[in-house]
Subunit: 221 residues, 3 copies
């Protein structure tokens, strides 16, 4: 399959695409907070590169990725400033951004899982770093802007990343190395399909309830 | 004394015990927030391994401890999921958990202080990493779940860790190496005794007041 | 110019000065939260050394700076405790602290930019680490104490750091090495002048508004 296209190259461009999309959605998610221009740049940048930064710190890959390749920082600054300017004049296409964000999540998750795998870490660590890369940027953004953090949101988001990472790790484990492209594409499609389904049909996981809360919720028995 | 039992082995099991307890108490502390299953796993895991993770990052011990030994991650995921399931059917024994949490604090503090000492860092750094290992997991949990953070809570908690770490560092400094077991046990007992006393008699530290707040508090003079 | 004074020595003392000032202003900023003595020490310490710690983690300079030189920790603990005691008896000079804080911001920013430059990183990374060193301690403090974070505050703060870092990086790039003292002093003066002007004339950056918010703000057109 690797003759069809150059996988690392495609992944690299998808990564840049995800970085820009996460910066835009990060800025828009904080729209209620009346940030100034600097705050917008910080929030956009943190959302876009925060997950990969924490992954790199945990794994000891320092200096972290965006110190090596400054393109990421330039892209997040540029995307944040453009969103700042554009949002005042026109409405951004909410639906398209939601789909683009799902694609970003898919790409970041697979890249995060791949990084730990390349360093020879066990499968569970790949799953953890995959999910981290996909969702921790958004969590840090929510903490900074004092929003109800991502981990509370109803619709399935992180779970889509987790499932994609599990699929990726298993495929990489059982299939020969020449199937890399297949593994990457399949895992990304799993994340994408699950996230888009969650948006479409408002899918969510069961919620934690103590027995008292559960009784209040369901009436006395 | 070292013939009585194998200290590293006992510490290791106490560490696993503390990890499970912190995951459970972490999940329960966030019960008000209506987390979904993924949120529960994140909160339980962060509470249990967050302190040790920050300690390892600060000291440059990367990849951090749970990347090397994946047992910790499996334990926190397992404990979080079981708490999720169990809490809906039955009430967890609050009193026993509070005591177990105090024991977890004692173990984590001594382990954290020992880590910096083994690396040859000065005593004050051992105290800082001891307290960090004991309490930062809970602080990160509170920040994630937008709770009033641990550092505000009335009863003595972190101070018990600090005192235990100071005792541990001093004993290790003045006593010969063969007294290691004594040092470990004494320091843990100091944390445990102080924390349990604080719970029993509602002990707390003085609170920060500016002169204006102090006057309001005590009336005009 | 380097005969006039010993630059590294002066920077070192300014760094210690900034550390003490940031610890004091950090504690005072959290005055509303009724922290206990331990909370005061954590908040003062985090404000003073948090920015430099995150910078060191990102750049892979671990163990971080205050593990190498414990003077920083002792100073922040001392300054926090003294503020705790003093604030109950007397009002701290708000105006002088505001100016001292501006000087601290200037010093931290230039030191942060210099660190990345000495490691051979690109100019944009120097600017990022300069701003980080100057402002992230305050952001972490605000997150811990659940205050509206620094990045929302109206008056120019982080932007002063950014401008100073940009000036510093450019001067270092274009001027020969013997002008180091000039570069350092100029960049610090830029931060100081901009921050003091912002305080004096309440300067602030434009605020992020979506088109709907902008219309509400300006009435229908």
């Amino acid at each position: 399959m690797s003759v069809l296209f150059d996988l690392p190259q495609v992944i690299f461009y998808l990564d840049l695409f995800g970085t820009v999309v996460f910066a835009i959605t990060g800025v828009l998610a904080a729209a209620e907070r009346r940030l100034d221009l600097f705050g917008v740049i910080v929030v956009g940048t943190v959302t876009a590169i925060g997950g990969g930064t924490i992954r790199d710190l945990i794994l000891g890959r320092t200096p972290v990725f965006w110190v090596h390749d400054t393109l990421y920082i330039w892209l997040t600054i540029g995307a944040s400033v453009l969103t700042f300017v554009y949002a005042r004049w026109s409405r951004l296409p909410h639906r398209i951004l939601l789909i683009a964000d799902a694609l970003g999540l898919a790409v970041f998750t697979v890249i995060g899982a791949q990084v730990a795998m390349n360093l020879g870490h066990p499968p569970i660590i790949s799953v953890v770093t995959g999910v981290m890369t996909g969702v921790f940027g958004g969590i840090v953004r929510d903490v900074l802007t004092a929003e109800k953090p991502l981990i509370f949101q109803k619709e399935i988001y992180a779970t889509a990343a987790m499932l994609g990472a599990v699929v990726f790790v298993n495929l990489s484990w059982f299939l020969p190395g020449s199937w890399t492209t297949f593994n990457n594409v399949t895992a990304m499609l799993v994340v994408l399909a699950m996230r888009l389904s969650a948006i479409r049909w408002h899918l969510h996981l069961p919620v934690f309830l103590t027995i008292e809360q559960y009784r209040d919720h369901n009436g006395p028995q």
